[in-house]
Amino acid sequence: NAGVTQTPKFRVLKTGQSMTLLCAQDMNHEYMYWYRQDPGMGLRLIHYSVGEGTTAKGEVPDGYNVSRLKKQNFLLGLESAAPSQTSVYFCASSYTGTSGNGNETQYFGPGTRLLVL
């Protein structure tokens, strides 16, 4: 199993450009998440999905959109990139939610480094 994969690994954008980050998981997980990681801020949740065709806003959703057309894929879109979106983006997935038996453990991808000039 590849686990959680992310493409691209690194990208440079100019202010105002758009792009899509792709996350794929082969663990048949229902739940998928997008985080951003910034120095001194830890990981912050952008958007998440509890199943195919569903999405919801997290802690810092502004400037991002997501789609979950297939269970194994979760896309993060930046419509008009801004320098404040320079960050490392991590996708994660989990089998279930708050079951309390460890199945809600989130597994992370390797990250996408995004630089917006």
Binding site: G40, G42, L43, A56, T98, F108, G111
Partner: protein
């Protein structure tokens, strides 16, 4: 005030030392406590998982939770250079505060950068 506070370090210790990493939190609803390890330019990976209070041991790693003090710790015994990484604490409540059924919201600490010197 952040929900979860973690000293960002950096922390540098000699090989073989006992390492203590800590987080404090303010939300008494947190029931699940995790430690993630993140190597440079990699994604976080789950290291330890604890439910409610108490200790959990896995090899050289021991996780402690003191809910009365809202304080969690990760101890690393006989530390190795391969333990050099950033360690993130994370925690969540039983019920999902985000509103969508079943989705778990993890609240992370800032991470502590640890270096084990040979």
């Amino acid at each position: 005030q952040k929900e979860v506070e973690q000293d960002p370090g950096p922390l540098s210790v000699p090989e073989g030392a006992i390492v203590s990493l800590n987080c404090t939190y303010s939300n008494s609803a947190f029931q699940y406590f995790m430690w993630y390890r993140q190597y440079s330019r990699k994604g976080p990976e789950l290291l330890m998982y604890t439910y409610s209070s108490g200790n959990k041991e896995d090899g050289r790693f021991t996780a402690q939770v003191d809910k009365s003090s809202k304080y969690i710790s990760l101890f690393i015994r006989d530390s190795q250079p391969s333990d050099s990484a950033t360690y993130l604490c994370a925690m969540s409540a039983i019920r999902n505060p985000l509103g969508a059924q079943g989705a778990q919201k993890l609240v992370f600490g800032q991470g502590t950068r640890l270096t084990i010197n040979p």
